[in-house]
Subunit: 252 residues, 2 copies
Amino acid sequence: MSQTLLSPEDLEAALRNVGAERYHNKHRFHARQYSGKCSFEEIQAWALNRYYYQSMIPIKDAIVLTRFTDAEDRRQWRKRIEDHDGLKPGDGGIERWLKLTDSLGFPRDYVESTAGILPATRFAVDAYVTLVRDRSPLEAVASSLTELFSPNIIGERMSGMLANYDYVSKDTLAYFSYRPTQAKRDADWALDYVKSHATTVEQQQAVINALKFKCNVLWAQLDALWSAYVDHYLPPDAWVPGTIAAPRSKAA
Amino acid sequence: MSQTLLSPEDLEAALRNVGAERYHNKHRFHARQYSGKCSFEEIQAWALNRYYYQSMIPIKDAIVLTRFTDAEDRRQWRKRIEDHDGLKPGDGGIERWLKLTDSLGFPRDYVESTAGILPATRFAVDAYVTLVRDRSPLEAVASSLTELFSPNIIGERMSGMLANYDYVSKDTLAYFSYRPTQAKRDADWALDYVKSHATTVEQQQAVINALKFKCNVLWAQLDALWSAYVDHYLPPDAWVPGTIAAPRSKAA
């Protein structure tokens, strides 16, 4: 990569290029999902596994809070925790994700136990949490920048899933209708932060690498889903299609 | 799982049962490898990725050293670091692994950079390192107990690879000829430690779960190899067969 200092605009372009090449909207599982080729069981496995990612996001963000020495940075970042955990019981992104797993027939206590997720899901998500704990605050912020690319994937995913799966409704996908606005606010702030704080070649390289790492975290989760539920090579203890979840009930 | 306290012998049986069900000798990649069905590129990818695991073992073991308050425990555990790092340059398990990657055509600086490994390899191995840092010393010791099962897989792997791949020799597999004796000494010590220190139901459950976790760490690495190099769905930045490594040179 570049060994010269980039302007803030060129740094932004480099970061956007990471997304263009590596964001998980380019993964074969995503194409299968939004084009209607996933089986019901594959959608179930996706939602069950991704619950673990959702559930760890506010914990990840709380760790980031511990890394900021500036109260204004913490105030801004705190909004992310509020979005995911909500302002009261029954509110927030995790709750909305559970409404999705509800609709797919999983009992909440099973989903929340994370007992049936793929080990590779756990390893990838935990690697993200470890990054924000062990690397610089700047890299922690940069790793969140996949949100720059999420509006596209969410649009494709929502329209594709609504068109192709009759058990999916706007209601069960409520999580995704909230996210674009939240993600844009957060990504704009994080991008400004990174552009103003990455002022050396080394820091710029570090933020680009942190974003690549985060893209790998998302990519590896879809690789593991494919291996287990499309290629049908289930690792020990992973959720077995046909078990645990109640029989499919078609939603309106 | 059991909610009653197990005798040390029953705990050992429960631990051995974890291996019987989940050790990676039961993975389809292992069967493919020892039966001679792997392509040269698949063997290269296996050795390249597994280098990362090998390289992190003494770091993992150094973290375990920091968790022991008893000098005798540390003296015993220190042998593991000596085995992997050697007593002088050119010696030790990591060096012997590099002789294997040498023989497969990889430049050492490329292997040591770990630039071409699969993200899922990194996530899985780092999860093992995190476990020994964040969980109890007892769980850290228990997670090493996959060595109880390694003599079998090593025997199968060595005889199978020597019989089936003409570029593999006893010399290039020297790593494996050293391991069974070391692994037996280490596993005997660790098993005694676990049997004498896991004296509550909760501790016994924790050690069984730590060993399952470690089996998942090994299993997930083979899942990722299969996805990338048998199913040919390469994640971004992973080593591309035919690049980096020098043309195959047949060893005696």
